[in-house]
Amino acid sequence: MAQPSEPLPSQSYNRDAQRDEAGGAVLVAATEAEAAPRSISSPMRDAWRRFRHNWAAMISLIIILILIVMSIFAPLMHTSDPMASDFTDLNAFPSWHHWFGTDGLGRDTYSRLVYGMRVTFVVGIVGAAITTILGMLLGVISGYFGGIVDALLARFTDLMFAFPSFILALIIISFYGSWANSLGMGGAGRVVLLVIVFAIVGWPGLMRFVRSLVLSMKEQQFIEAARTVGTGSWAIMIRHLLPNTYGLVLVQASFIVIGFIGTEAVLSLLGLGVQAPNPDLGVMLSQGASVLDLNYWEVLAPAIVLAILILTFTFLGDGVRDAVDPRTKG
């Protein structure tokens, strides 16, 4: 395994960490994996100070927070019921009454977008959070203990890598989708299923990444010091190793979020995502795309929202990365 102190660039990346999931969901995640563990001694406070000065990242963070607040407090934000149909006002052009127009059932597109973002955020952020935590824990355990634990986990991760994750997600959702519908939670059952599936397929890339971080950290002085004063394994992992991976893991997480948002849209296209009549960004996109030639505004609104989400999460990820790893700053 490559050591951080080695001078040659050819050895400075972590080859395991770059091998990532294939199916698109977390494709982007691994691309940041080479951000090798060198900044472990930088306190989070310094990172935050640097982050604050990155205007692109700060604006992105603010926009994301605003959108999250909007979707959480959707009932206070919207102008009409996202489910209410007005059969006399189908496919309406944007107006003062309907800011982004109406869809084929006469429902208000703006309201549906605000509610639809809930799904996007839950699937993107909660899904990414769960898979990130899973990947971190397994990575730390694997890296710290090494030996047989590491070998077993590594082989299992090999398996997960080679299993095409998109097919895995498709199989699980198409088999258990109707079960999720029957839970009687309305649209929420599907969202829960999506989150579970994304959590299952997303972690292997991150696990390898964290493992490599831990491998390089555990030989360092502060860990040795902790060990010599008799700190237990779990305490070392939780108190010393995990906190030092947060920054770099956050970078990855932001790209996992983007991947999940895109994958959710594709699953919606296949009818496997959130079910009608519940609003969802992916469904709105695919429905809008089908009337592109007639009512272009029906695809424009969700496409702009998607673009904003992708833009902000990209800059957020870049900002976090620059903040926690100042050496890559140009």
Partner: protein, 319 residues
């Protein structure tokens, strides 16, 4: 000797992973709550319960799962992948579907990969060298991420409408026609597919380069003369090619599964759309075959990468 034992160890590990995936996907597929024969018969099932039993027997679905599993493994060893159990392809040997579909997916994916690399790598390079500049980095990366993340099902009808219907520069869809038409048919699907790949590679390459550029020796080089700087930059780029090789494996799987929307929109008889249809219609033999195929491609790619590393960097073998 160390290399040989490393090679053998990795090779055995590869076989074990492929077997494990075969087993996993078999039982995963057979855990389906759906009965493929029932689906084929649809409403006819009510009128024809005997036909239902006949067909289950024909596909060996009336045997126990273990029996089916051993039959399946036995068939695999003889290169028999079984027969499709999906309505529109009922009874087609899976091997025929794979054999006719893979070359088309490879043709689409291969060209898209090439174009994607030609666009993505320079974009990543500029982005890394001009890190945090508004246009060269931020705008550039935003466009690349947009290309990666905007669903192709939104872009495909737009492209068809503009280039096929309005401008009439390119055929709306089609694949494999002889002559110039065949080339023109490829431009839209390959271009759209390459956009996603370019975005992915641009993002990756930017990161790899930034990592290398932050090395001390590069930082030193920046202070020195131009000629030396060029040499060192070239060296840096050469070193980023190695990590790039490692993401080729996952990219293969992405190319196959990610292609299904492109294939549907542009009438390309590849295996992406076959795979997706199979997954949503409980076509066990096809799900199993395509999954194993992709897994083998990824595992072999990883194996070759490992071997390549071991040859370049002897310390890897000791790991």
């Amino acid at each position: 000797m160390a290399f040989l034992s490393f090679f053998i160890k990795r090779f055995i590990a590869m076989i074990v992973v492929v077997w494990a995936i075969t087993t996993l996907v078999f039982f995963l597929a057979h855990a389906s709550p759906y009965d493929p024969i029932r689906l084929i018969l649809g409403q006819k099932y009510l009128g024809d319960p005997r036909g239902y039993r006949v067909m289950r027997h024909l596909f060996g679905l009336d045997q126990s799962v273990w029996q089916q599993y051993t039959n399946y493994l036995g068939g695999l060893l003889h290169g028999d992948l079984g027969y499709s159990e999906e309505q529109t392809a009922l009874g087609t040997p899976v091997w025929d579907m794979i054999r006719s579909g893979v070359p088309q997916s490879v043709k689409l994916g291969g060209w898209a990969l090439l174009v994607g690399l030609l666009v993505g790598l320079p974009s990543g390079l500029i982005s890394a060298l001009r890190q945090n500049k508004p246009v060269a980095d931020h705008a550039n990366q935003f466009v690349m991420m947009l290309m990666f993340a905007v669903p192709v099902f939104v872009l495909a009808p737009i492209a068809q409408l503009i280039f096929g219907v309005e401008l009439k520069w390119l055929p709306v869809a089609g694949w494999g026609d002889p002559g110039l038409l065949g080339v023109k048919e490829m431009i839209m699907p390959v271009g759209l597919f390459a956009m996603g790949i370019a975005g992915y590679f641009s993002k990756s390459f930017r990161s790899f380069l930034l990592e290398v550029l932050s090395q001390d020796y590069i930082r030193t080089a920046r202070a020195k003369g131009l000629k030396q700087r060029v040499i060192i930059y070239l060296h840096a780029i050469k070193n980023t090619l190695l990590p790039l090789a490692t993401i080729i494996g996952p990219t293969i799987a992405f190319l196959v599964t990610g292609a299904f929307i492109i294939e549907s929109f542009f009438n390309i008889p590849g295996i992406g759309s076959i795979t997706v249809t199979a997954a949503t219609s409980s076509d066990y033999p096809v799900i199993e075959a395509t999954t194993i195929l992709i897994a083998i491609a990824v595992v072999v790619m990883n194996f070759l990468t490992d071997v390549f590393y071991a040859m370049v960097d002897p310390r890897v073998r000791l790991e």
